[in-house]
Amino acid sequence: MTDLFSQVFYKNIDFEGQRVTEKATHYALVIISIFSFLAGFALQSLQATFALFGGLVLVLSLVIIPPWPAYNAHPVEWLPSKGTKKSE
C-alpha cells in the first residue's frame, strides 16, 4: 500500500472531519439543487439546470471526497496507556 492511490483511498479522517464533511454535503447539495433549479427556471433552459447541478456537484466532490489534511487536524487523543494487569 505504498502507491498514491492506495494511500489516498484507504486513509481515514478523524471524527471532527467526518462531522464537517457530512454536514457540508447535506447543506451544499440542498443549496445546489435549489440554486440550479431557480437559475434554469429563470433562463428557461433545462440544460442550464443540469449543467449547473453537475458542475457544482463536481466542485463539491473535490472538496468533500479526498481526505484533505484539514480533515485530520483533530486526531483522537487517546488516554496514556496503563500497565497491563496480566501476569507475564
Binding site: F9, S33, F37, L46, P66
Partner: protein, 176 residues
C-alpha cells in the same frame, strides 16, 4: 464518512434524492405555464369517394378527404419543460350508429420553438373511413386542430387550437 468510499457512497445517495426532488419540482413547474394559443383552420375541397377496396361482403368503403388551410402560432406552448408538440387535425362526427368518432386526418411533430409557427396548405395524410362503410346518415362533421404537449418530466397535456363550423358530408362521387 470515515473513508473515501463511505463519503462517495453517502454523497451519491443524497445527490440522487436531491435529483429526484428537482425532477418533481420541474414536473410541477409545468402547471405554471397556462398558454392557450388559438389558430385558424379552414377546410376546402371536402369530398367523399367510393373506394375500390373489396371488403369481405364486397361493399364499397366510402373514403372522406378534405384539403385544409391551417395557420397557428403555437410558440407560447414552448417552455423549459417542453420536449415536443404533437399537433393533429381531426374530423369529429357521429356516424349512422350514433357513435361519436374522432378521426385524425393529418399530424406533425414540432420539436423546436422556431417550428411552432404553423402555416400549412395541405392534403390529408390519412383518409376518413367509417366502420359502417358509408357516411350517408352521419351527422355533420367538425374539424379541429388539437395539440399534445410532451414534457421532459411530468404529465402529458392536451389542448385545442382551432375548430370549424359543422358541415355535412357531401354526397359520394366517383371512385378512388
Amino acid at each position: 464518512m470515515y473513508s473515501l468510499y463511505a463519503r462517495v457512497n453517502n454523497g451519491f445517495a443524497f445527490m440522487s434524492s436531491c435529483l429526484m426532488a428537482m425532477l418533481a419540482a420541474i414536473a410541477l413547474s409545468s402547471f405554471l405555464f397556462t398558454a392557450d394559443p388559438k389558430g385558424q383552420l379552414t377546410i376546402f375541397n371536402f369530398k367523399v369517394y367510393a373506394s375500390a377496396d373489396a371488403k369481405a361482403d364486397s361493399r364499397f368503403q366510402e373514403i372522406g378527404l378534405a384539403r385544409f388551410n391551417l395557420t397557428a402560432d403555437l410558440t407560447p406552448l414552448f417552455h423549459w419543460n417542453t420536449k415536443q408538440l404533437f399537433i393533429y387535425v381531426t374530423a369529429e362526427y357521429n356516424n349512422s350508429d350514433g357513435t361519436h368518432n374522432e378521426v385524425t386526418m393529418w399530424d406533425r411533430i414540432v420539436r423546436r420553438k422556431e417550428d411552432a409557427l404553423i402555416d400549412v396548405v395541405a392534403p390529408p395524410k390519412y383518409p376518413l373511413r367509417d366502420m359502417r362503410y358509408s357516411f350517408k346518415k352521419s351527422s355533420p362533421v367538425q374539424f379541429a386542430l388539437k395539440y399534445n404537449l410532451m414534457p421532459y418530466v411530468g404529465a402529458l397535456t392536451y389542448g385545442e387550437a382551432a375548430r370549424t363550423e359543422p358541415q355535412p358530408f357531401p354526397p359520394k362521387v366517383g371512385k378512388l
